[in-house]
């Protein structure tokens, strides 16, 4: 049962990824990326990581990709021109991709403590304990420092983006009546 679902959604995932590369219209590519992300969420679910799966759907498919499509719609980006592509990229690129994939696969397989993945219903064997309990415990005890540092890092990135955007606004704000009024109101 698990295996059938796995193959269906792995197929969706690959098809979405290939479609993402082949489509010439940005909005089709963005939608293919959503398909990839949702199928990945199903694969996480099959590995017994239900929280990761739903976080993938909410954060990536639901928030980040909405902003992607938002930008595509705002810019009204049209169809891209199809180029013939350079031959060097084809000759070097394909073997390079194969080599990198092989390298990654061997490293992951040889790594200590990582066995083959099991398709299962849950990660814990303890009755009544969910994936979420375990995740919360690990995140707020063992990995507290890296977790907090990462969140501060993201916060700094947001502040940086806001600082850059507001700096640009001040430059043009005086010339445009509308923006000047708005900044005055704030």
């Amino acid at each position: 049962m698990h295996l059938i679902v796995f193959f269906i959604f792995a197929g969706f995932c690959l098809a979405g990824a290939i479609n993402l590369l082949l489509q010439s219209h940005p909005i089709n590519s963005a939608l293919s990326l959503i398909v990839v992300m949702v199928s990945l969420a199903v694969l996480y679910l099959l590995l017994g990581a239900e929280f990761l799966a739903i976080a993938q759907v909410i954060v990536y498919a639901g928030a980040i990709m909405v902003l992607f499509t938002f930008v595509v719609m705002l810019l009204n980006a049209g169809r891209e021109a199809r180029t013939l592509g350079s031959k060097a990229a084809l000759r070097v690129g394909l073997p390079a991709v194969v080599a990198i994939l092989a390298l990654m696969a061997t490293v992951i397989l040889k790594a200590q403590g990582l066995g083959a993945a099991r398709l299962s219903d849950g990660l814990t064997d303890v009755k009544g304990q969910t994936n979420l309990d375990q995740l919360g415990t690990v995140l707020f005890t063992k990995l507290l420092l890296p977790f907090e540092v990462t969140s501060v890092l993201i916060l700094i990135a947001i502040l940086g983006a806001v600082a850059l955007a507001s700096h640009e606004n001040q430059g043009t704000g005086n010339r445009e009546q509308g923006t000047a009024e708005r900044t005055g109101e704030e």
Partner: protein
Amino acid sequence: MTILQFILWSVLKVAVVTVVLLLAVAYTVLLERKLVGRIQNRWGPTRVGPFGLLQPLVDGAKSFLKEDIIPTGVYRPLYLIAPIIALGCALLSIAVVPFGEPVSIAGSPPLFQIADINIGLLVILGVTSIGVYGIALAGWSSNNKYSLLGSLRSSAQLVSYELALGLSLVGVVMRAGSLNLRVIVEQQAKQGMLTWNLFGGMQFVAFFIYLMAAYAETNRSPFDLPEAESELTGGYHTEYSSMKFAMFFMAEYANMITVGCVATLLFLGGWTSPFGDLIPPSDNLFFDAGFSIFWFVFKVFSFLFLYVWVRGTLPRFRYDQLMNFGWRWLMPLAIANIVATSLWLAYR
């Protein structure tokens, strides 16, 4: 229980719940037309059937029979798939909502819920966040400036208010210690109204934030800017006609019902009686099940009534007011609520 039995039961439950939900959608439309009519000192629909009760059926037939116009300039694949995404996501999230006690007959799985999963609340949030694409793609693929403006407004509004919505639920989840909707309800059920999250749980700030964010999430007045008729003709569904328009319409009302169900489950004690054990549970299975369903439907109905009341009363926000309110008031308030709730839980 074999896999075949499980599938048969699931199909049966899905069919029943979908039919009931669609009927509820149809009659919510009638409720809204009647109530808004009374608020505006007129009758609302009265001609078809007694008190206009058959109006939704006639409306449905009208939508089916109208000419389906697809403008030439649209981007066809997305134009066609957008209403399906909107309605599909709206109907999907009801799957994790429990309507009553976990009653089962003759070895069946629990009857009053399609899927009892331990991250039920997050599934509802996830499905809602996918539903944005229906509206966004509808506006973009219509190739019409009013539609595009409507869908841009809608996407920005949904992404902004989803934050406040999610954060307002954290307090409830912390109190219950679980994301399972059944566990959340059972945690509030001990002494009826006194232990509801809204009163006993001191989550009224969270309830207020949830209410505001829910109005914005479902594009309802006073936050119905994506379809503001006075500025955008019809907003994101300007170019849709016939059944495709009806699908957006149904999606909006189905979302209202889902939001009402979630509010009921998280803040108002779900299917449990507000009087707790003052009315003792009887031995009759059917009586108990009917009783719990009655309370659930009553609470959701009150929520829908409030929705319509607000629509009939409040004027529409301006767009900058909407964004300011979401980011500068609701978000900080929600975070303050989380801090206060966690301090209280730690103190206790």
